[in-house]
Every structure is written in structure tokens, then in C-alpha cells.
């Protein structure tokens, strides 16, 4: 639709390219071993290819080479015996805000120019917390203060690695939107005399999103006009390109399909309104966040091919969620909606498997169906289901070893590996912790920086 030479590709790829220049590793993961790992004798929950009651799984160079059967350990590969334990694909959190310097650019209602990929905080201990619950990947997002927030980023929980190495570049680029009380109230006048900011109502939220995209369309038209003139046989003297506006460029790229919408949405009516708006304007919605009333519109969501990323409970925790129900995730999943259970938190992220299991009691999902909500389904929502989300040959070696079936209330994550590198090993971690506690404080070395 546009023939702009640089605008659609310029800002973010340039930034990423520049960041990619800086790949020098300054830190080493605690338990990294070079991407080779053999886990033996476990019950393999492949998610997409059924359950293998007892078998081995081999990861070489970060990639799954074999699933099932008995595998002789290749030389130099670390072997983990999972006898009596369960091996599953690394858990994926479709919606959280961990490992970031900041959450909301809340000063203005439309801020797609901000990019969470530029403010990753790899030192956030929530990464380690996530690993302890078997989580290997998370979609960490701009907050919900704005009708149109910032660009989000998908990262792996590579604790100890520099921030730029956490980014999952295969993931579909996403842009945060928000409807309802959050964008309404975050823009409300806080103190007497302080200016209230548009929007203050649900219809205002809808209108401001439309207005922003109409501006983006005008921006695209300006560039198209410029390009046509530039390429014409007699370009006018003094022809200048339009001003580059990163904010509008990201919206234009959303209209072009480069970014997909991830929309915070509580009630059914505005969810449907947003779907209609996206259709009218011509951008793609990947997923609704929280979507408390998804069960009311499950067929519409399924027909539109839009997923939802929800809590397992907390229903009715505020007025806007009053009609949220425990059965939301299960019912939507059964109606064909791609459902994920998210944490939205640096604490709940360590027990997403417990959260997913609640859909078995409330919603009647099977163990396998429930496990999908925190593995392959979030992978589909993030556009990474070709590389993660299940135990399949050729996928990245992101796995977790659990002491019991992850849908059991007694399950505990014992080991988490990303691309064959062990980033969390409960036994080793506890041993190190005890050793550290037993040791007297280390004497200060001369001039050393640890």
C-alpha cells in the first residue's frame, strides 16, 4: 500500500540491528552448558503428540533431536535422570510485565512509539522466579494505561545473559491496546485543577483509537504522494519527504500487518466493538487480554481467529470484572478459542501450571487440554508455535522437569532448561543456597569487582 523507502522498516529494525551489534556477553548463566542435554526415563508430555509414559529426550546445540525411546548419552552431554518425573515443554507466559524498566508511558493516550524491547531489565529477579516455575518464555508488555500503549517484547528467561540476548526475534511483533476502566481512569484528573485527559469514557477510548489510525492513514497517504512525486518524470523543485513520525509509523505498520494488536479488554461489548474497529480500519487482533466476558462471545472470538489470555480465577475482583466467571477459560477453549492462562505478575508467573489446572475443575478440561493453556496456546498467540510450545524434534530445547504431573496440586518444578542450557536446577540451587548460608562473609579482595 505504501512505497515509502525507509519508513516502514526504519525505526525498530534499525534499533534492533544496532542492539544486535552489542551482543557481547557480559555475564554467564549460572548453569549453562552449551546447549546439550539428555533427560532420561521421564514421562514426556509432548502436548502436541500425546504422552510418552516413559522415554528420553535429547537436546543438542539447543535443538530437540529426539523425543522418546531410549537414547544412549552422547559424550560430554549432561544427563538428567527424570525417573518418576514429568518432562514438558517450557511454560510460556503470554502476558506479563516483568524484566522491564517501566510499565506505562502514561502521560499520553497514544504512545506506540515506545518499545519495551528497548528497556529490558535482565537483572529482574522475577526471571529467576519464573524459571523456578518452569517458565522459559514470556511476552512482557506495556501496561494498560493507554488506549494505544507501546510495543511489547517476547523474551526468554535466560537468567544471567545480557538483555539483548533475551529477545525472541522470531516472535510476532505486538502492540498493546487497552479498553475500559484502565485507560479511562488513568487519564482522569487526579487532583483539583489538574487537567483531565481524553478519553474519560469507553466511547472515548474507541474514538481515540479510530482517530489515531485515521491519522496514520493520512500519514501513509502523505508518504505515498511524496514517493509518487519523487519517482515522477518531473519532480517538483524543492520536493521534501514528509516528517517521519515514529508514533504514526508504528500505527501504519500495524495497518500493514507488521504488528498485531494485543488488547486489554474486560467486558464483552467493548471487545466486540474493538473487533469491529479493527475490521473497519484494517489491522489484525492477535489476542484479548483478561477478556473476563469471553465466554459470552466465544463463538465470535473463534470465528475471528482471535485468542484470549486470561486469569484462571480472580473473577469479580473489581466492578468491571463482575461478570467474569471461573469457567471462562475452559468454556472458551471448548468453543475453539485459543486460550492461554497468563500471570500478569512476577509472582503468579511461578505457578502458571497450578493456574492452568484450575480449568480442569472449572471448565472440565482434560489434563492435556489444560496444559495447552500454558504451552502451545501462548506459543500460537506469540507466533512462535513453530519453534517452542511442545516437545517435538526440531523445536528449541526449552523444557521443564516436574516432580509430578504439572496439573497436580503437588507438582513442583525441579529443572528448567532453555535451548538445552539448564537455567534452573532446584537441587543445585538449594545446595548452593545452603553452602552460601553456612559460609562466613567473604573477605574483600583487593581491587576485585565481582
Amino acid at each position: 500500500m505504501s512505497a515509502r523507502p525507509h519508513a516502514s522498516r526504519a525505526s525498530r529494525p534499525a534499533a534492533l540491528a544496532a542492539a544486535a551489534l552489542l551482543l557481547a556477553a557480559a555475564a554467564v548463566p549460572l548453569f549453562a552448558e552449551g546447549g546439550d542435554l539428555l533427560v532420561r526415563n521421564g514421562t514426556l508430555l509432548t502436548v502436541t503428540k500425546g504422552t510418552i509414559p516413559r522415554g528420553d529426550i535429547l537436546i543438542l546445540g539447543g535443538v530437540i533431536k529426539q523425543v522418546g525411546g531410549t537414547i544412549a548419552p552422547p559424550a560430554g552431554v549432561r544427563v538428567v535422570d527424570a525417573d518418576g518425573r514429568y518432562v514438558l515443554p517450557g511454560i510460556i507466559d503470554s502476558h506479563t510485565h516483568i524484566a522491564l524498566f517501566g510499565t506505562n508511558e502514561g502521560s499520553e493516550p497514544v504512545t506506540p512509539e515506545v518499545d519495551m524491547a528497548e528497556v529490558i531489565n535482565a537483572d529482574d529477579t522475577a526471571i529467576l522466579t519464573a524459571l523456578s516455575g518452569g517458565v522459559t518464555m514470556a511476552h512482557t508488555m506495556h501496561g494498560s494505561a493507554n488506549p494505544i500503549g507501546g510495543r511489547n517484547v517476547t523474551i526468554k528467561m535466560k537468567w544471567g545473559k545480557p538483555s539483548e540476548q533475551l529477545i525472541v526475534r522470531e516472535a510476532t511483533p505486538t502492540l498493546k491496546f487497552a479498553l475500559g476502566e484502565n485507560p479511562k481512569q488513568s487519564n482522569r484528573s487526579i487532583g483539583f485543577g489538574s487537567p483531565a485527559q481524553y478519553p474519560a469514557t469507553r466511547m472515548g477510548v474507541n474514538a481515540i483509537i479510530r482517530r489515531a489510525f485515521l491519522q496514520a492513514k493520512a500519514y501513509m497517504a502523505d508518504w505515498d504522494r511524496y514517493e509518487a512525486l519523487r519517482k515522477s518524470k518531473t519532480p517538483p523543485p524543492g520536493l521534501l519527504p514528509p516528517r517521519r513520525d515514529v508514533r504514526l509509523e508504528v500505527l501504519a505498520d500495524t495497518l500493514r500487518g507488521k504488528y498485531v494488536a494485543r488488547c486489554h479488554s474486560y467486558v464483552a461489548t467493548e471487545t466486540l466493538e474493538f473487533l469491529a474497529l479493527a475490521k473497519e480500519l484494517g489491522f489484525k487482533v492477535a489476542c484479548f487480554e483478561h477478556c473476563w466476558e469471553g465466554y459470552k462471545i466465544a463463538d465470535d472470538l473463534a470465528a475471528a481467529g482471535v485468542g484470549i489470555s486470561v486469569f484462571a480465577d480472580s473473577w469479580a475482583y473489581k466492578m468491571e470484572a463482575a461478570e467474569g466467571i471461573a469457567y471462562n477459560a475452559g468454556r472458551c477453549a471448548k468453543r475453539g478459542v485459543v486460550v492461554s492462562i497468563n500471570s500478569d505478575s512476577g509472582e503468579r508467573i511461578r505457578r502458571l501450571f497450578n493456574e492452568a489446572a484450575k480449568t480442569m475443575k472449572y471448565g472440565g478440561l482434560t489434563e492435556d487440554e489444560a496444559l495447552r493453556l500454558v504451552t502451545i496456546n501462548p506459543a500460537i498467540q506469540l507466533g512462535v508455535d513453530k519453534i517452542v510450545g511442545s516437545l517435538e524434534v526440531g523445536k528449541q530445547g526449552d523444557i521443564a522437569v516436574f516432580s509430578a504431573h504439572p496439573m497436580s496440586a503437588y507438582a513442583r518444578c525441579d529443572l528448567t532448561a532453555i535451548e538445552g542450557d539448564v537455567y534452573f536446577d532446584r537441587d543445585q540451587y538449594l545446595k548452593e543456597r545452603e553452602a552460601a548460608a553456612a559460609k562466613p562473609a567473604p573477605a574483600k579482595k583487593d581491587g576485585g569487582v565481582s
Binding site: 552489542l22 528497556v119 521534501l240 581491587g447 569487582v449
Partner: protein, 446 residues
């Protein structure tokens, strides 16, 4: 001193009269720098070249005329002789980033906060007025805010400092700095270069855009894009003024333009190690001439700095940023890190072979700066590296490595004479030459 106080900003007279005065007065006089000095028999640490145990320095007309072993240097007959026995001569220290001589209110904790709210409302009426007069932005010139004070000048000279880049200190786009020689109190006569650089800081606003770090990052990008676009429009208009509508004048973009064009450096304050990578990536993306400043966690990205060299101005501010593990672990851990880990930043960089200058950014005063240098040395920074990082390295980064930062003939006569090793406890700076102008100090306890 018989310096002509020449500062047209302070002259309350009609413009015509100012012009007339300018024409009559010509360039400001350098009254004191015509003197000739010979410092005889001192230890000389020239930075470029080997130390001279018993050397003589001849200074003439604000420049170094000769340096060498005492027996080889002929003392000119017109020289005022200074007996240097027991003294050591160093090149004057250069602060590549400071806020000295700028008297603006700095809200409590502003620089410690990362991504947090800066600028609490100033309480004093005078402070409010100062904020109004000098709002941060690309057009704010540190030169316009300068209020050199004698006691401040003396304290910094006694710390060995003879030149300093002085930058505005507030906001995310702070303004433009000026590079000064500490040769007196007349701002114009002190200027080595004005403007010196544009100063950015990875902090955010409160209650208005940008309210977050990612907002600040986005704003920097958009502003540089805008300045480039503005420059292209102005250039096009200059080429084809006919049949082209005159582009609108935009003062802020006009101020940014030389920086967007790489004509002058953009100094980005990095409050933690992630900021360093952020600034390097931003500079590469926007093709800017970027300098890293602050960077008291630079050791954590020493590899990156080695692979992607940029002028690195390391502050001797040892306070742990809020984003650090140490700060997250509570006050005791923070204090421990500030006493043991952060002072070793420079030592680790030197060990890794990353060139850097040491600066006083966020160091409250000159005596604290002196103590901080000693702490960095105690933490493992070799003295010769410390000296280089205070003299020749900043001179190079500031583009004056050929005329300042070392004791060599032809360079500026910026010389510090210290009794005792300047980095040792109990040493005293007794004489300072700035542009060849002599400042003398009493020995401690006298």
C-alpha cells in the same frame, strides 16, 4: 591581576554603545598570561613521555615553552624563577563532564532515581525563578548560566583541576555545555570551546511526556529524526529558495541540528550499565557522535565498550543506582557495594583495557572528588592510569589532545605543582597555572 572584566551580558547599555565598545576594545586582553615562568628542579610527570626526576619547565605566554631535565633546559633571562625542589608537576586535570559554576537547585535524589520522578517542586522562590529562567532543553546554554565563584575555583584548582566541561544538570535533554579553562572568573575569557556538547540523560519527566524510560528513549529518537528532517528542509530551501515555501523556524531543532549532523558530540548520561548499551545503540542507529558519561557500572559492559569504542567519561560517583542488585537488597548491601564495588569500576575498566576519562559528574565538591580518586586508586586503579584518565584521555575525547593534557612544549601552560604525590593523602597543591596564569596556595596547616 589586572584582567579586564569583559562580559557584555552584564552591561546594561544600549546595543549601539556595546558595539562601539567592542570596536574600541578589541579582543579581551590576556593580561596575566604574558608572564614567563621557569619552574626549576621539580619532579615532572608529563603523561606523554617518561617521568623526569629533576626537571625544569618553562612557561611563556600561556604556553609551555620547554620541559626537560634541569641540566638541559636553559632558564630564559626574563623568567620568574620558581624553585621546584620537593614539588611534582602534573598536567592540569580536565573534567570532561561537570556541573561546577552552575548554581541551580537540584531536587533531592533526582540523579539516584532511575525511571523515577525527577524535579520535585522547588521550595524556595529563588529556585523557582531559576527554573523559569533556565528550563532544560536543547537551546539551554551552560555558558549563559555560569556564575564562577572564587572559592569554588580555588577548591577545584587545589584538587588539581585546570579545565572543565560544564553542562546543565537537569532534565532529559539538558542543554549544551561549555568547555572552560579555570583561569579566572571571567566566563568569556575562560572559554576553550562553546558550545562543547549536547547533554542527554536517561531520566524521565513526571506528569508529562516522557513519563517513562521507554518514553525518553522514543523522544530522543523522534527529536533527532525531527532535527535531521528540519536540516534537510533548511538545506533544500537554501538551494532552491524560489518556488519553495520557506520552512518554519524551530529554535529547538535549530539547536539540535549540529548534533544530528555529527558536527558536535552528544553526551549521554548513563545511570546504569543497561543505559550504556542503550546509548551506544542509539548513537549507532542515529549516526551520532556519542560520548558515554556517568557510567559508574561500566565494568559490567566492559566487553561491549571494547567491541564498540566510544569516549567514556566515568563519574567518580560511587552511589549504586536503584536498578542495581545492591540497592534491591537493602540499605546495608547498598552501602557495602558503594564502599567496595563501585569504587573499583575504573580499576576494572583499566584492567579490561577500555580507555576512559574520570569526571566529577554528580560528585558534590572538589574535596569529595579528591577523596574519590584516592578511593578508586585504593580499589586497584594504577596511579598512571588515574593520571592519564584525568589529563590526556579527557583532552583526547574533547578534541584537544594535541594541545592540552600533557606537559610538552607548545601545549597550554596548564600545570599543577603539588607537594607530595597528588594522589596521596596529605599532599598539597601549592601552585596552579591555568593558561599560564599563576594561582598560589598556602601549604596546609600554615
Amino acid at each position: 591581576m589586572t584582567r579586564t572584566p569583559f562580559r557584555f551580558r552584564s552591561l546594561a547599555m544600549p546595543a549601539v554603545a556595546v558595539v562601539a565598545l567592542l570596536a574600541a576594545a578589541g579582543p579581551p586582553l590576556r593580561a596575566d598570561s604574558g608572564r614567563v615562568f621557569a619552574i626549576r628542579g621539580c619532579r615532572v610527570l608529563p603523561v606523554l613521555g617518561a617521568p623526569i626526576e629533576k626537571g625544569t619547565l618553562v612557561l611563556r605566554g600561556g604556553l609551555i615553552e620547554a620541559v626537560g631535565p634541569a641540566e638541559k633546559i636553559v632558564v630564559p633571562p626574563d623568567a620568574e624563577i620558581i624553585e621546584g625542589a620537593g614539588l611534582t608537576a602534573y598536567p592540569g586535570f580536565i573534567l570532561a563532564h561537570s556541573n561546577i559554576f552552575i548554581d541551580l537547585p537540584r531536587p533531592e535524589g533526582e540523579d539516584r532515581r532511575f525511571g523515577g520522578p525527577p524535579a520535585a517542586a522547588p521550595s524556595a522562590a529563588g529556585a523557582a525563578a531559576a527554573e523559569d529562567r533556565f528550563p532544560p532543553g536543547p537551546g539551554l546554554m551552560a555558558f549563559d548560566m555560569l556564575k564562577p565563584k572564587k572559592d569554588t575555583l580555588e577548591l577545584w584548582q587545589k584538587a588539581g583541576v585546570v579545565a572543565a566541561v560544564v553542562a546543565p544538570a537537569r532534565g532529559y535533554i539538558q542543554g549544551q555545555s561549555v568547555f572552560l579553562c579555570l583561569n579566572g572568573l571571567d566566563p568569556a575569557a575562560m572559554v576553550i570551546r562553546n558550545p562543547a556538547a549536547l547533554h542527554l540523560n536517561y531520566v524521565n519527566d513526571r506528569g508529562k511526556y516522557p513519563e517513562s524510560l521507554m518514553g525518553t528513549v522514543a523522544l530522543f529518537r523522534q527529536d533527532i529524526l525531527d532535527a535531521s528532517w528540519y536540516g534537510a528542509a533548511q538545506a533544500q530551501y537554501a538551494r532552491t529558495p524560489l518556488r519553495m515555501r520557506r520552512p518554519a523556524y524551530a529554535p529547538a531543532l535549530e539547536a539540535l541540528l549540529p548534533y544530528a549532523r555529527r558536527d558536535r558530540p552528544v553526551v549521554i548520561q548513563c545511570n546504569n550499565f543497561e543505559d550504556v548499551k542503550r546509548a551506544l545503540a542509539f548513537g549507532a542507529e542515529m549516526k551520532l557522535n556519542v560520548m558515554i558519561t556517568g557510567a559508574n557500572e561500566a565494568w559490567r559492559v566492559a566487553d561491549v565498550l571494547k567491541a564498540h569504542p566510544a569516549p567514556l567519561l566515568v563519574s567518580l560517583d560511587f552511589r549504586a543506582p536503584n536498578s542495581s542488585f545492591a540497592a534491591a537488597q537493602g540499605e546495608a548491601a547498598r552501602k557495602k557495594a558503594e564502599a567496595e564495588v563501585y569504587p573499583a569500576n575504573a580499576a576494572a575498566l583499566a584492567k579490561a583495557g577500555v580507555p576512559f576519562a574520570l569526571t566529577s559528574l554528580n560528585v558534590p565538591d572538589a574535596p569529595t572528588f579528591t577523596k574519590a580518586i584516592r578511593a578508586a586508586i585504593k580499589a586497584g586503579l594504577p596511579k598512571d592510569k588515574a593520571l592519564e584518565a584525568l589529563t590526556l584521555q579527557p583532552a583526547r575525547f574533547l578534541g584537544v589532545g594535541d594541545r592540552m593534557g600533557a606537559l610538552q612544549p607548545g601545549r597550554a601552560a596548564d600545570v599543577v605543582l603539588s607537594k607530595g604525590d597528588i594522589f596521596d593523602e596529605g599532599s598539597t597543591v601549592l601552585k596552579v597555572f591555568a593558561d599560564g596564569i599563576l594561582f598560589e596556595y598556602e601549604e596546609k596547616g600554615r
